[in-house]
């Protein structure tokens, strides 16, 4: 899976957890916090994405990225 596919998966999981964002255009430079996604929802999106990627990583290893694109880069590097 390439990096853009990881980003697309991440955005799909985000829309699934926060249905209010289903119609909103979302790109890699957006941050989840700025989109109004709270910390509990963010952790759920991460968990669902890890599950979809069949990755078993500690959540703390995903701390640091400032936006969805950086998060996709990080996840892609773990595949």
């Amino acid at each position: 899976m390439d990096r853009d596919a990881v980003l697309a998966l991440l955005i799909a999981q985000l829309r699934d957890v926060v249905p209010d964002l289903a119609e909103k255009p979302i790109i890699g430079t957006d941050s989840m916090a700025e989109l109004g996604v709270d910390s509990i929802e963010r952790s759920e999106i991460l968990m669902n994405t890890l599950e979809a990627l069949a990755l078993d990583l500690p959540m703390v290893h995903l701390h640091g990225p400032r936006n969805l694109g950086e998060l996709a880069d990080l996840l892609h590097g773990k595949l």
């Binding site: 709270d38 910390s39 963010r42 952790s43 968990m47």
Partner: protein, 418 residues
């Protein structure tokens, strides 16, 4: 040798004053969906003449008073568990031991590991009893924590904003012995997970710093890994089937909802509807008191146990799963059994009624306390406490059975009964 060990008696102290959390969120301009996710109703606010010693003593006093002199004489260890210490050397337990009038042949010390402290203290006491080195001995373990994080400077209130609605104050006193009426611990049934992480800390006496995202991530990792360590030790353990009820350390209700979902997904890939129903059935009773006093740090998991015993339906002996997490971090999943008698004893304490009797602060009164002008700062050598800061709150004390702080003289804290 008997393997019976656990909590013989338990009492909580939820303070003398409280604040409506919905009102606070409105005042701070926090949006209401966020408030709903907190699953909070009220939070306890410590008054200037209340400190970790008064909270600890006020939690333990009714418990100790209900014992016979012979039973009291068997309390051979008093452990205070806190991240709100008042001295680097002298432990709170020395003051607590004095004001409870306990015997001198007693180990007195304090334990720190953020919100994990209470479980560390409990396990210390449990293993003292199990060791059999002093047959029939009892240990008093008291968690006591208060939060006064807005005192540093004007910017501190802003920095504290993310945890202000959920930061509470409270103490839980537990008598640990070989007659565990409240919770019989499953000896040897526990699992740990710890690692170094800078998620939340108290770098100064009145400051808290942290990263809410990192703290949540560390909590979720620990919930999963501590449980897996438990399952590695305990044959046939099944998170879904083994525990009738669960009590988790609760910074705020929404966090344990996230952790429960995390575990149910990781362990069973359970569908959302099943997860929600399971949370409502097995975890929501544990929120009963926590949502009225806020996060009590070291005591929060035991406040959860008390709330569960108050609110759940317990018609036969059943197993409880408990999860404790302390930032920094260390965590533990452990278990024990409760009975209808445990519930009868707990309900007889009238804990909900004592929370109802707290003075309800207005936002203006809360703001006065937040400024902290009347609070004793860490390291104060001499001062006399103003007992009339919020007169109506002080007037709510009566009966002479609660400890308050009067003065500090040459660093020594002087208390009286109010």
């Amino acid at each position: 040798m008997s393997r019976d060990v656990g909590i013989e008696a338990l009492h909580i102290y939820g303070g003398a004053a409280c604040l409506d959390v919905r009102e606070l969120c409105t005042h701070r301009g926090l949006d209401m969906p966020r408030f709903e996710n907190l699953l909070m109703r009220e939070k306890t606010v410590a008054l200037p003449y209340e400190d970790p010693v008064t909270f600890a003593v006020n939690a333990a006093k009714p418990l100790v008073d209900s014992m016979t002199p012979a039973e009291r004489a068997r309390i051979e260890m008093v452990v205070t568990c806190t991240e709100s210490g008042i001295d680097f050397g002298k432990s709170l337990s020395t003051y607590v031991h004095h004001h409870l009038g306990l015997a001198g042949n007693c180990r007195l010390f304090e334990i720190k590991q953020a919100c994990y402290s209470g479980t560390a203290g409990l396990q210390m006491a449990v293993n003292f009893i199990l060791s059999g080195t002093s047959p029939g001995a009892k240990a008093l373990v008291i968690t006591t924590d208060i939060s006064r994080f807005a005192l540093a400077d004007a910017a501190a209130i802003q920095e504290w904003a993310y945890s202000e609605p959920s930061s509470g104050a409270g103490a839980v006193a537990m008598l640990i012995s070989d007659i565990p009426h409240i919770l019989r611990i499953d000896p040897g049934a526990y699992g740990n997970h710890g690692f170094e992480v800078m998620d939340t800390c108290r770098p100064g006496p009145d400051t808290e710093a942290g990263d809410a995202d990192l703290s949540l991530m560390a909590y979720l990792d620990c919930a999963e890994r501590a449980y897996k360590d438990y399952a590695r030790r305990v044959d046939g353990a099944d998170f879904r089937q083994s525990f009738a009820y669960l009590c988790f350390h609760t910074p705020f209700g929404g966090m344990i909802k996230g952790a429960h979902r995390h575990l149910m997904r990781k362990l069973y890939k359970a569908p959302a509807a099943e997860i929600d129903a399971d949370f409502a059935r097995r975890l929501s009773p544990s929120l009963t008191f926590g949502q009225r006093v806020g996060n009590t740090a070291g005591g929060s998991v035991f406040l959860g146990l008390a709330g569960m015993l108050e609110a759940a339906e317990i018609s036969q002996p059943c197993r409880i799963g408990l999860f404790s997490y302390g930032s920094g971090c260390c965590s533990e999943f452990f278990s024990g059994t409760v009975t209808p008698d445990s519930q009868h004893r707990l309900r007889g304490l009238g804990l909900a009624a004592s929370l109802d009797r707290r003075y309800r602060l207005s936002m203006d009164e809360y703001e006065v306390l937040l400024k902290g002008e009347h609070v004793v700062r860490f390291g104060t050598r001499d001062t006399r406490l103003d007992q009339r800061v919020i007169p109506a709150a002080r007037d709510s004390f009566s009966g002479g059975n609660r400890l308050v702080l009067d003065e500090v003289a040459a660093y020594h804290r002087v208390y009286s009964w109010a």
